[in-house]
Amino acid sequence: MAEILAGLSAVLAWQVLGFLAIGVCLGAVFGALPGLTATMGVALLTPLTFWVSPEQGLAMLLGIYCGTIPSGGIPAILINVPGTPASIAASWDGYALTRKGQAGLALGINALASTTGQLTSIAFLAFLAFPIASFALRFGPAEYFGLTLLGVSLMAGVSGGHVLKGVLSGTLGLALALVGLDPMTAYPRYTFGMSEFLDGISFVPVMIGLFGLGEVLVQISDRQAARASAAAAIGRVLPRIADAKRMARATFSGAAVGTMVGAIPAAGGDIGAVIAWEQARRTSSDGDSFGKGSLSGLAASCSACNAAIGGGMTTMLTLGIPGDAVSAILIGALLIHGIQPGPLLFANNQAFVFSIVFPMIFASLLIMVIGILGAKPLAKVLSIPAPWLWAGIIVFGTVGAYALNNAVTDVWAMYVAGIAGFLFRKTQIPLGPLVLGLILGPLMESNLRRALILSRGDWSAMLTRPILLVFLTATLLSLLWPLIRARRGAAKRSQGRIPDA
């Protein structure tokens, strides 16, 4: 108890709260601009924290982290360009809501579900840190392969009805993921002798191009349609109580999935949100509305990508292992402030745990307030005349793609991806699977190959691993589920109990 109070009182100093607020606001800006990621925000601002006390520096960095991910959902919802990779899943339902004139509600749900996700994961961090961390440590190559296989199998789910086209797009994503140094032998693949390709295709510029530039090109080509929908209504911001109740289950199960996935090193909010979205879709009575503006779908993905923050922090603090790229930088920042994350710190210094937990709680509440109050002004973006908005997206997309690695190659990648995104949309090939393939491909390939090195090339030996079996079963179910449901639906309809919807 004394530790909790000490942690709380350390945060309540006005300087600490001030730096926390600065961090949250900076994070919100970084998150909302595509191309500027949470990783970059924390990395760029870490040196700034050398000149303040450890509490203030830590509060600012945690503020940035907690502020970036929720605000990454804002451009995903408003203009279909995810602000950070974690908000890809949020764009599926969020942008659909915007097109229905419910941008305000989508932003409100983003704010509420994000904070719910963060707070849930912080509770896990405060009370269940060690069990979660030991679960995360059981993830060897075979388990990672299972997780990513499950992720890739969701391709069909995110294809919005065009399953075959979805598989085509996903396979293309997996193929693009092969570019670069072979992860096992370091032999260059598909690089055409250019050293720019050695590290593979950068994911963020491709994401900006596919979603941002691609969308702009589509809108330009359907000029009439765009003008008709330009008078987009904002609508209410806070959901009705009945809606909130209906979203609660998706939000909390999303938070649990996000925390677990976030705790696993190298798997972060982007993967967590996709898995949570698919899980919510499959368990929902209204699964067909997912991807077409489902409130539960948006809530699940927003909650999960934010819960990954607490999950990642759990692994970092208990094991001294980074859960994602941001916590890797945070470890460096803590070291410089003389704090050594790891089991010793966590077991011996309970007060320190709360000095992390409380700033995160405050940051999380602050970003919710910002998100709700900012929803109406932010949604005004939609009333900007379309040509101006298009120009803005192209400028920000170009700058964002360059800023990521300071490389012009990435800008070209963004433009090529933009044209591809345009063609895909015109031919109704879904983009979600391509992005899934590109994110999951490298993890899936390298871990399958690692698992085979460990089992001396024996595929059957992998089947003795319980966690992997769970994933394989889930993968099989997710592939067979549409068939099962179709059959069940047909059976029910033939009994005449459900009217044809």
Binding site: L137, L181, P265
Partner: protein
């Protein structure tokens, strides 16, 4: 991180702000090529890790220490061999004996084929006759995690990368690949003491485009030397388990060229060892 801290410490001496830009990619090859193409006025310089002496041998970019103006070297860090604390190997000798007894039975995680720590594993195999099953990861952190989670048996990474886990008791260090013991892990024996003079440390320094005027090089070297002498730099190196180590322009150039020759002579033969 090294360059940012060094830059903030050297700024005071130069009276100009130093802007740090990250240019990741291809083991640093992209950054080396970028800096080498900039005007040689001393206003664009780069931070050179050991990879500047390696990338040519790996075929990533046709650039090496002799193609740039080396300024100074500021830090050095030795590799360490670690195993899980519950593993049966209490000492380096136990470990090598086990690796020789059953070739390939011990799974050795590395931080990526072609990385400096992977070379150290290959040097270890060559120097002791041990044979491992190599499990490549994308960086030291995941390689160490796989040892902590007992998915692999051992790993080689920088002293600074393993020290926190060794202190926390989640890894056991068996040897440091260096001539002298590491300050932060003085209790761990070195390979040289144990009779195997192997080891290739990672180091880092600063460089600019070829043909930089000598007085500019000297000015920058002075600024970095002053920054090197500060208590902050000593603290920073200690925290990260690096050895603060200064070499001026000539010494750095001689050292870097010798390193390049070392990697050029060893890499082809080591790579053959890797892929039969």
């Amino acid at each position: 991180m090294v360059s940012r801290v060094m830059a903030s410490l050297a700024e005071g001496h130069l009276n100009v702000p130093i802007v740090c830009e990250y240019k990741p990619g291809a083991s640093g090859a992209l950054a080396f090529s970028f800096v080498a193409r900039r005007p040689s006025d001393g206003y664009t310089i780069g931070h050179a890790p050991v990879e500047i002496a390696i990338v040519r041998s790996l075929g990533y970019a046709d650039i090496g220490p002799s193609d740039v103006s080396l300024i100074c070297l500021v830090s050095k860090t030795a590799p360490a061999l670690v195993v899980h604390p519950d593993s049966p190997w209490q000492s380096f000798e136990d470990f090598i004996a086990a690796a020789k007894a059953e070739a390939g039975n011990i799974v050795m995680a590395n931080s990526g084929i072609g990385s400096i720590w992977h070379f150290n594993i290959l040097l270890l195999e060559q120097g002791t006759g041990a044979r491992f099953t190599h499990l490549p990861y994308g960086g030291s952190a995941p390689a160490l995690v796989s040892v902590i989670g007992r998915h692999s048996d051992a790993a080689v990474a920088a002293v600074g990368e393993v020290i926190s886990h060794v202190r926390a008791g989640s890894l056991r260090a068996l040897a440091v690949f260096d001539a002298g013991r590491a300050g932060v892990m003085a209790e761990v024996p070195t390979t040289h003491e144990l009779g195997y003079p192997i080891g290739a440390p990672a180091w880092s320094g600063f460089y600019g485009p070829a043909g930089m005027p000598a007085e500019r090089v000297a000015m920058l070297a002075d600024a970095f030397e002053a920054a090197f002498g500060t208590a902050e730099w000593a603290d920073f190196c200690r925290e990260l388990g690096m050895e603060a180590h200064y070499l001026g322009k000539e010494d750095f150039a001689a050292f870097a060229l010798e390193q390049q020759r070392f990697f050029e002579s060893r890499i082809p033969q080591l790579v053959r060892l890797e892929i039969p």
